[in-house]
Symmetry: C2
Subunit: 393 residues, 2 copies
């Protein structure tokens, strides 16, 4: 479905407020998700957002499709060199301070834009682009609710799919098919260079302890060094953790969620670590109130992990250890706020965050869980609807 | 499997030859696929390639895993600011002319590197990075052969999956599961900003005529405007084209291939267009010899399409029309050489290219085919092993 017109208007107002605070005359957006959020379409090559007034979409292809998805004014852009001219013809005053998404815009495109806008100060607008998306609307909460149902429907089927000797990869294939049939779009989006991911991580036993380059506590062997994350042809055995960390995605919106399974009980040390993860989740969700910082949340989690004697396994081990415990979710898996050591982000009402307390033991695997939560004045409301329990098959 | 040591040595020599031609003192690679190609691992944050001598991998995480995948020297990089110091400690002379992948490197990282290397000339090394990968080795041809078997095994099952009223999306889900079970890594890689793709495009009837922002002749409705390409919940009917454009991927290597199916015969106009696509393939493969340019190949294809009275439907229609007919494949779906109008690329022995003559009719869909070919001194050798026939179920 198209994003409702009133929803788009609310977003534009909020974003224009942020860019006026940064004293920008306009922002030239180019990343698909950013453009979709503010216009309702991914069919633009650029989306120009002036500090005040109406937006303009610049189209390489396809004008007709863009027109079906958005009601903003659209202009054909036949070649990058015509960009300043098309903006002028569209009635925009030449910007003096122009914002760009420097966190994702390729250097070659940045340098080309610099030559097309001589004398214009090019400034980083990554933060307003990401900040505006933190506060979620009733429309967005409906999308999250559907994504929560989608991922829950998948989890209900997982126990029936597990048996000793089953390949981790086969479980992944079956789970992927279930999610796709329930409306998952397939593609998972993480913002940032090299942050590629296929669905997420379904890992068993030692796989759960194999790190990768990715900004994620888990990695997994994956099919080969050319895709060094995710499931492999490893046979699942009794008594080892099997973790399903695949989100639901509905109309682009992600509910990030992880659940723990095993064939028979887990060794006592792993079962205890899972209990500590639940304890961390309980304590942190009581803290998820407007005004608290991402740093405070992470620090509290680390204190509980240390008190349980598990500091060296919390969110990874060795140089694979991450000093974070959660992150915003929305159209991307890694939105603001970041709940990490030193994070400057402060929670506000209607932020949506995934909390993922996890313990990772080399050779043994990962235990923990992840849920997606809404920040309200009365504390955290759970968006995920699946039981938190470790499911023993 | 790890990339063989001798294979890596051959690649490094070829790449260092190219960067010396460009008078670079070294290239600092950062993109996953580029680093994997030259080192055998994706676990580095940067890979430094001096104009002569040994490479160095700079690791944020994970040193142990990187060491299992590559035999190049590895150095811990604790913070970007230490990069020049770590390179000096590794024994490299300070570069005066440093190459970077400006086509994919984010602007913020580029600007940070510029501040870390004051006085150093930063130059675009995108072309050598892409050019070195054009010429494929016997090791790489083995990977393509396996990817061809993978995608062929899938196509053998497609006729049994087709029936009137079947949803396009359900066919996609089943095909994805077959490919994954046969070793497809899931993730598909296209180089460049915003070039995201999930497997490829399985489209039926009018879906085949729906364009998108993507650099591809087809798009499809996709599940929503938030993922505006690929299959949708559209029911497949008799007498319309069903096209399966999903590649095989083995150890990262892509065989790009498209096949045409239908329930019962197609209307005469579409059947004729498919015959013209076959004719274009026949004529172009006879031209696939060292020394011919991408422009000459495209131009010949366009002439045949025009002669058949189908110019306005060749590779798209209206502003969705693309002036290309094929592209290199390898670790990414869009490698060099580009077989397009104005392309400066010239074919050489052991290039591997996908040729995809396709006709796209608004409201009716796409007919055409795609195969992956090896360029040899004696002409094109087919890497794809699936019959070219339009399969009528």
């Amino acid at each position: 479905m198209n994003i409702p017109k009133m929803e788009l208007e609310r977003r534009r107002e909020s974003f224009q407020h942020l860019i006026r605070e940064q004293e920008l005359d306009g922002v030239l957006l180019a990343q698909l998700t950013s453009m979709y959020y503010l216009s309702g379409t991914m069919q633009c090559q650029f989306l120009y957002v002036p500090a005040e007034g109406d937006l303009a979409g610049l189209i390489r292809k396809n004008m007709e499709r863009a027109g079906q998805e958005t009601d903003i004014a659209l202009f054909a852009l036949k070649g990058l060199g015509r960009l300043p001219g098309v903006l002028a013809e569209a009635g925009f005053a030449p910007p003096r301070r122009l914002g760009l998404e420097l966190d994702v815009l390729p250097a070659s495109l940045y340098l080309r834009l610099a030559s097309l806008f001589p004398g214009v100060e090019l400034l980083d607008a990554s933060n307003p682009v990401r900040e505006v998306r933190q506060v979620k609307s009733p429309y967005e909460l409906e999308q999250f609710a559907e994504a929560a149902r989608q991922v829950d429907a998948m989890h209900r089927l997982v126990p029936g799919l597990l048996y000793p000797g089953k390949e981790e990869l086969e479980l992944a294939v079956e789970v992927e098919a279930i999610l796709r049939r329930n409306g998952h779009q397939g593609l998972t989006r993480m913002r940032g260079f090299n942050q590629e991911m296929f669905f997420g991580h379904i890992l068993s036993g030692e796989s759960g302890g194999v790190p990768s380059f990715l900004d994620s506590p888990t990695g997994g062997f994956g099919p080969s060094p050319a895709q060094p994350q995710g499931s492999a042809r490893r046979k699942i055995a009794a008594g080892e953790p099997v973790t399903v960390d695949y989100g639901g995605i509905h109309n682009g919106y992600v509910v990030d969620q992880t659940r723990l399974y095993s064939l028979g009980p887990l060794p006592a040390g792993l079962a205890r670590a899972f209990a500590v993860a639940l304890e961390i989740q309980d304590e942190l969700t009581a803290m998820l109130l407007p005004g608290i910082s991402g740093d405070e949340i992470y620090t509290r989690a680390a204190v509980i992990a240390a008190r349980a004697g598990l500091a060296e396994y919390f969110m990874g081990y060795g140089d694979g250890q991450a000093r974070f415990v959660g992150h915003g979710v929305g159209l991307e898996f890694n939105e603001f706020p970041v709940l990490a050591k030193g994070s400057p982000h402060v929670l506000a009402k209607n932020h949506v965050v995934a909390l993922e307390p996890k313990f990772i033991f080399p050779g043994l695997g990962m235990v923990g869980l992840e849920n997606t939560w809404l920040v309200t004045d009365r504390g955290a409301e759970k968006i995920s609807i699946t039981s938190d329990d470790h499911v023993i098959v």
